[in-house]
């Protein structure tokens, strides 16, 4: 793309902008591509270990492929070869990640730059009005092409058939490409990057739901809904069983159509404007926002509620489906001694269904710990972005500022766990006809995770108070270590004291374990006290240190 050939055209400067985009993404882009490739490779590898023989996989196909909850979650299974099982288990989710990568890349280099005013600076140089758009699209195309090549190499290296591997890789990356184009269009419609991301992510969520409902409704009924969804197309390519190449035309056609629409809009609209204007807000603060004098609790809620709602929807969805999958889990695991072992390890010993449900609940606890950590770290974002400064120059004390965000984190974590328990209880109970008792039982099982989740967030408060510069990396490292210990601690045969570092090692395995004051109450009390002590130490540090 020589600059001379494009000079004076709407595409002038595309080459320079593309190089700039790659330079800005030199870390994030490889990380995305690597994580998706590594996840597929390691999971296909472990599927091979878990279901080594054709008979094991046939049993899995017979039970899992028929379980409506799993079909809802992962899609339909078209065969029982190792490749077909991998494509069933990871195809839709890898496509979601490819779509997320593409959406974030495109919005970042188009609307986010425009909103921040960076494109104005660039646009006043000899850069055409379509250059940024094209650069953003090119980055996403390159990312998806590289991802395709890596996936093909890795899948073939795992011993899977070559043609099926190419079909599987393209099924994933053409979906990524289609959502890159959707994001490009969303960036023309919305004025803010946040709203543009919301539109594109909403489209992705709708695509998932259409596919899930279409798949779960079986052969008749609403199964045509699957064909309305790019994630459904991914599945309908049927890699390793039919390799239906013609289905690839659908995501490519959507890519072309959405890209064309984005270019048309980009030509006709004003710089900085969109087709969907930013809605005006309230000209004065509501009573809620200014509820408590000197306490920015209303503000903390306002800043964090959107994220919490998003998490809650994700929790409701995931745990309802996971709970629904509990019925018949015994026969599903029947074929795999290793999986059965993995669940009893994570969830305790009292029956495979209870072990499975308890394992789901500890996953809810881990996810809630991640939420709580992100909610606490909002304090650090407020500090580094400079919003804390005018706030702390008012009569608001550092403690009340810190506690306001911590309060949102605590309430939000409790709410998410409640959602997980109720959703799992409904998902399982409605299928067994015992919804009332299952909801109560699983709500309790979810809530016992709360002190452990908050203890993890307590570490984030300590880091924020005492080592603010290291707090973001440090707090996520803590979450990562806790997750690693929970999922792989015993597989790696770590010694007991290492396992005991994780607060989740001390949470009773519910449902299933006996509930007594000593076995259930005491560890929860200690974990709760640990969380409070950590938060207090962090706040004491916050009072003493420099802000900014």
């Amino acid at each position: 793309m020589s600059s001379s050939a494009l000079a004076g055209t709407p595409l002038a400067g595309t080459g320079a902008l593309t190089r700039l985009a790659f330079r800005r993404d030199r870390i994030m882009l490889p990380v995305w591509v690597y994580v998706i490739t590594a996840a597929i490779a390691s999971n296909s590898y472990s599927l091979n270990k878990l279901y080594p023989t054709a008979a094991d996989r046939a049993a899995l196909a017979a039970s899992g492929g028929q379980n409506p909850a799993l079909v809802f979650l992962y899609g339909r299974m078209w065969g029982d070869s190792l490749g077909a099982v991998s494509a069933w288990r990871y195809g839709v989710w890898a496509s979601i990640f490819a779509a997320l990568m593409s959406i974030f890349l495109v919005i970042r280099h188009t609307r986010a730059d425009e909103e921040a005013g960076r494109l104005e600076l660039v646009g006043s140089a000899a850069v055409g009005r379509l250059a940024a758009l094209t650069a953003g699209l090119l980055v996403a195309v390159v990312a998806n092409v590289v991802l395709t090549l890596l996936l093909v190499i890795v899948l073939i290296a795992l011993g899977l058939p070559a043609a099926g591997s190419v079909a599987f890789a393209l099924a994933i990356t053409t979906c990524g490409l289609a959502f890159a184009a959707v994001a490009l269009l969303a960036a023309q419609l919305a004025v803010s990057a946040r709203a543009a991301r919301g539109i594109a992510l909403g489209a992705l969520g709708a695509a998932y739901l259409l596919r899930a409902v279409g798949d779960a409704s079986g052969a008749g009924g609403l199964s045509w809904l699957t064909w309305l969804s790019p994630l459904g197309w991914t599945e309908q390519i049927r890699p390793y069983t039919a390799d239906r190449w013609w289905v690839l035309a659908l995501p490519l056609a959507l890519t072309a159509a959405a890209t064309a629409a984005a270019y048309v809009l980009a030509v006709v609209r004003d710089h900085g404007a969109g087709l969907l204007p930013d809605r005006p807000g309230r000209p004065a603060a509501s009573a809620w926002l200014r509820a408590v004098r000197h306490w920015p609790i209303g503000l903390a809620w306002r800043l964090q509620r959107g994220t919490l709602y998003g998490w809650a929807v994700g929790f409701a969805f995931t745990f309802a489906a996971s709970g629904a999958a509990a019925k018949g889990i015994g026969s599903l695991l029947g074929g795999s001694e290793q999986l059965r072992h993995a669940f009893t390890r994570l969830g305790g010993q009292a029956g495979i269904t209870n072990a499975y449900l308890a394992a789901i609940m500890s996953l809810a606890g881990l996810a809630a710990a991640a939420y709580a950590t992100s909610a606490v770290l909002r304090l650090r974002t407020e500090e580094t972005d400079g919003q804390a400064e005018p706030l702390l120059a008012t009569a608001t004390s550092r403690i009340s500022w810190g506690l306001s965000h911590i309060a949102v984190a605590v309430v939000g974590t409790a709410a998410l766990l409640a959602v997980a328990g109720v959703a799992a209880g409904l998902g399982y109970g409605l299928r067994t006809g015992t919804a009332g008792s299952e909801v109560a039982r699983l709500l309790g099982a979810a809530m016992v995770q709360l002190p452990a989740s908050l203890a993890v967030a307590g570490a984030a408060v300590v880091l924020f108070g005492l080592a603010p510069r290291a707090s973001v990396a440090g707090a996520w490292t803590v979450v990562g270590v806790v997750v690693l210990i929970a999922l792989f601690g015993q597989v790696l045969q770590l010694s007991q004291w290492v396992l005991d570092i994780s607060p989740f090692a001390h949470v009773p395995k519910l449902p299933g374990a006996a509930v007594t004051a000593a076995s259930t109450g005491a560890p929860l009390l200690w974990l709760g006290l640990a969380a409070v002590a950590l938060a207090a130490a962090g706040l004491a540090g916050l009072r003493r240190r420099d802000i900014g």
Partner: protein, 304 residues
């Protein structure tokens, strides 16, 4: 006269960088005090120590009679602050932020709605817009309105007009004048010198974390030279006259800088040569600034 702000020998370092190195600052109650210095001189660091956001390494600082670190929250109820680089919460509207800051500042009933409305009209702000849609100038207006609408005794304004257009800058000056009439104390940090000239009762100039000079503008002008620019009928000879500097002669046009003591002699020689046109200008703050920061003229930077 009591002092709203008293700073003696203030020191603060960030790692190996010495941001403040013995800074002195006195702001008298009821005055508009300009706090001048180039970028990186330590203005913002000083303000952030006065706000209790940073902890001082040494020296004394008192604010409204209290300790800015220990008594931070009680003192903050009596002051209003506008940061130099205003960052707002992108999802909140300007109106919401003005009310929010008012409530958090602790005024009993939030802020006076009449004054809030008057200021919003005066600064022509759309309070229903989300902060992410505001330009830099509009973000600045939000913070200024929140501060000016409060009933704080002390206003601390860190480069408050950096993003305002000339029209809004004029509105800002009127507002600061009003505040002076109402007896409020204003600390105005700036590198926009015309602003300090138009507004300030007294000025403190800092350089490299130290106070270079402090006083009223009149006191500072006393230390500097008058610029003389003249068209003459015949060439005049000023060479070698004591107190005349930077002399430029171009035929009958003459330009020089003159010490106050030499002004009388210079004017006598000029009138003797026949004055066609004459401009005598007191030094602007730009020239005061040059005196302190110009690398080319280090001999002029010496402290008086």
């Amino acid at each position: 006269m009591t002092n709203a702000i008293e700073v003696r020998g203030l020191r603060k370092s960030f790692g190996r960088t010495q941001a403040l190195d013995g800074l002195d600052l006195d702001v008298r109650t009821g005055e508009v005090h300009a706090f001048l210095g180039p970028n990186g001189a330590g203005k913002t660091t000083t303000i952030r120590i006065l706000l209790g956001l940073l902890r001082k390494d040494g020296g004394e600082a008192s604010l409204l009679g209290g300790d800015p670190w220990r008594d931070a929250t009680t003192l903050h109820a009596r002051l209003a602050y506008v940061p130099g680089d205003v960052t707002l919460w992108p999802g909140l509207t300007g109106g919401e932020i003005i009310d929010l800051l008012g409530t958090l500042r602790g005024s009993r009933s939030g802020i006076d709605p009449k004054r809030r409305q008057a200021l919003i009209e005066r600064f022509a702000l759309d309070p229903a817009k989300k902060a992410r849609a505001y330009s830099k100038g509009n973000r600045q207006k939000v913070a200024l309105i929140a501060a000016l609408a409060s009933d704080a005794e002390l206003l601390i304004l860190d480069e408050p007009t950096a993003g305002l257009d000339p029209l809004m800058e004029a509105v800002f000056r009127e507002c600061v004048d009003d505040e002076r009439q109402r007896g409020r104390t204003v600390l105005l940090s700036s590198h926009i010198l015309a602003e300090a000239e138009a507004l300030a009762d007294r000025v403190t100039i800092i350089r490299d974390g130290r106070t270079a000079e402090t006083g009223t503008l009149a006191e500072m002008r006393h230390l500097t030279r008058t610029t003389v620019d003249a068209d003459l009928a015949r060439p005049a000879v000023l060479d070698g006259l004591p107190g005349v500097h930077a002399l430029e002669v171009n035929g009958t046009h003459l330009r020089c800088e003159v010490d106050h003591a030499a002004l009388n002699d210079v004017l006598r020689r000029l009138t003797a040569a026949g004055v066609v046109a004459l401009t005598c200008r007191p030094p602007t703050l730009e020239e005061l600034f040059l005196r302190h920061y110009s690398a080319e003229r280090p001999e002029l930077g010496a402290r008086p």
